[in-house]
Amino acid sequence: MATTTVTSGPTDFATKLSMYRSQVALRQFETRAYDLFLENLVKGTSHLSLGQEAIAAGFATAMKKDDWTFATYRGHAHTLARGVPMTPVLAELLGRSNGLMAGKGGSMHLTSVEHGVMGSYAIIGAHLPIACGAAWSAQYRGTDQVAVCFFGDGSTNIGSFHEALNLAAIWKLPVIFVCENNLWMEYTRTTEVTSVEHPAADRAVAYGLERIVVDGNDADAVYDVASAALQRARAGEGPSMIEAMTYRHGGHSRADPAKYRPEEEVAEWLAKDPIPRYRSRLLDEGATEEQLSEIEAEVAAQVELATEEAKAGGVPGEDLLMKDVWADGGSSWRN
């Protein structure tokens, strides 16, 4: 797939194992979230990244602790991958007061500033210019932080995509735009409504950027391309745009059975599932079955614990309702 030719991934094996752990955690967490939705405990909507975990894990592994993530409504994976604990994320989905935002944001707006997760944005395209702003701030303040901004293939046709890419390019901002191309918008195939085949990469030239397409179901490949782009950003060489090819295993949102997709397409991509694929690579590269099973079991225990803790969370009340519209903590618009 285009520019990434040799894939190596992290050089030390411990990092590879932790990148595996990350993917397994995202998978198990979201599988549980789906179960809880079926039990009617997840309120509102939610959008799972099942099948797309390698992108979140690959990037988060390559990023430094104080780099920034900007995610979409499909943001569970990106949030967890940066190290946010499972309990507050799950509690947020359940609308509990021990949720990451005390229930006020919900699944589509996961944010943990402490972990560099600068928000999940639910209106298509908005966070691309916002990520530019964070990158501008890093540039102005002379830190070497980088803003990494994830979005979908369908989001490449909205106006703010264009404005953000141009601004990032002319200001040489340390921002990385990552298009997670899972082929589908909600229920419409993106190529049916897009003027080029690769909606992000084929447009990079319009902003003077390199055309980069990467196998988004291979955490090592993602890690490599992420590392290169991060280095470029830190070196003051400006933004990158990366298109990572992937597929969501389930529907667009929690209630969508995804019947509109051809069976063969689904089968083809299930065969490319990033997690078993990475697992067997690790085995090839020297990991033991025991090591990997242990990781999986540890994650399973975490998910259990998070489930219990989230369910035990309180119901948010009037005090939270009227809190934090303003920086003074309140919501008053009058004296």
């Binding site: 509102g44 006020k104 589509m108 707006h109 209106i123 298509i124 948010p316 309702l321 519209v325």
Partner: protein, 325 residues
């Protein structure tokens, strides 16, 4: 007579007009094969084909720009903006272009188009997918604003909106999509700018819109049981506004309570309060009271959202308290 959900009524209303008039076309995101994310357009693609029912990219400015350009050159487009919150990404086309161009050109161009959208909260979708934006539209000269509260009205008001030669913002309370009622067979055409008196009382007048209408009715029942007899008016259309009916009904009881899903500041209820307190000031027997969502972004958690949006209980308590002081 058939039981119809609010969402089925949307599709029926549009289909009724598409059958009647070839110039009616429909566009939006995921509206064709998928039938819309709220299933408001199920069956349209099958009946009218892909030339009249078009799936678009995620490009709201392009969607409404296309609707505008088509309307000024002979078509009568109906465009879907999936969630009303997304008006913010295409507000220029709505507020600066569609709304103003007829006036600016001294009547040379006309915009017979409808923009329909899922509006309001109650589904725990959080602050960016739950707004009640009726006031965004009411505030802009040149837009008509229609907000039905039940399936029968949906069909008739949709037909009236499509037949109207002016741009209509048609807001569908998402929380009502699954509500059902018996709807008459055959063609249904209603009238814009006509409020409906749903209940006649003698003590106070509750004026409500969209998803707040059933709540106001329920509250009126409870209030009646407690000895406060309320009139309930369903506004149905903010522009044109049926001030005749509203002023008559408020004047008759001497008391106005608005029930608004929108956040408080600059809500339509404020506009009503100003009209009432100017034009029938001397008919008022007591303060005008607005029952609204507090002036905060809408929270996602079910418990919080239920606290935010006016509830039957809050309506009852507020009216009772105000009538007893």
């Amino acid at each position: 007579m058939a039981q119809l959900t609010f969402r089925e009524a949307i599709a029926r209303g549009i289909a009724q007009e598409m059958r009647r008039d070839e110039s009616v076309v429909f566009l939006g995101e995921d509206v064709g094969a998928a039938g819309g994310v709220f299933k408001g357009t199920v069956g349209l693609l099958e009946e009218f084909g892909g030339v009249r029912v078009r799936d678009t990219p995620i490009s709201e400015q392009a969607i409404l720009g296309a609707a505008m350009g088509a309307a000024m050159t002979g078509l009568r487009p109906v465009a879907e903006i999936m969630f009303a919150d997304f008006f913010a990404v295409c507000w220029d086309i709505v507020a600066n272009e569609i709304a103003k161009s007829r006036y600016m050109t001294n009547g040379q161009v006309t915009f017979p188009l409808v923009i329909r959208s899922g509006n309001g909260g109650g589904l725990r979708f959080g602050a960016q997918h739950s707004q009640s934006v009726e006031n965004w539209a009411m505030m802009v000269p040149g837009l008509k604003v229609v907000v039905p509260s039940n399936a029968q009205d949906v069909i008739g008001l949709m037909a009236a909106s499509i037949r109207d030669d002016d741009p209509v913002i048609f807001l569908e309370a998402k929380v009502l999509y699954s509500t059902k009622m018996d709807v008459a067979d055959g063609e249904i055409v209603d009238t814009l700018g006509s409020a409906k008196v749903l209940r006649q009382g003698k003590d106070a007048t509750l004026v409500a819109l969209g998803a707040m209408v059933p709540k106001a009715l329920d509250a009126a029942e409870e209030l009646a049981a407690a000895g406060i007899d309320c009139t309930v008016v369903d506004v149905r259309s903010l522009v044109p506004l049926d001030t005749t009916t509203i002023l008559r009904e408020v004047g008759a009881t001497g008391r106005l309570f608005t029930v608004e899903e929108n956040p408080r500041l600059c809500g339509w209820g404020g506009e009503l309060a100003s009209i009432v307190s100017e034009e029938i000031f001397y008919d008022l027997d007591g303060p005008i009271v607005r029952i609204t969502t507090p002036h905060i972004p809408l929270p996602a958690a079910d418990a919080l959202e239920d606290l935010a949006i006016p509830s039957v209980e809050r309506i009852v308590t507020t009216v009772t308290k105000s009538m007893n002081t």
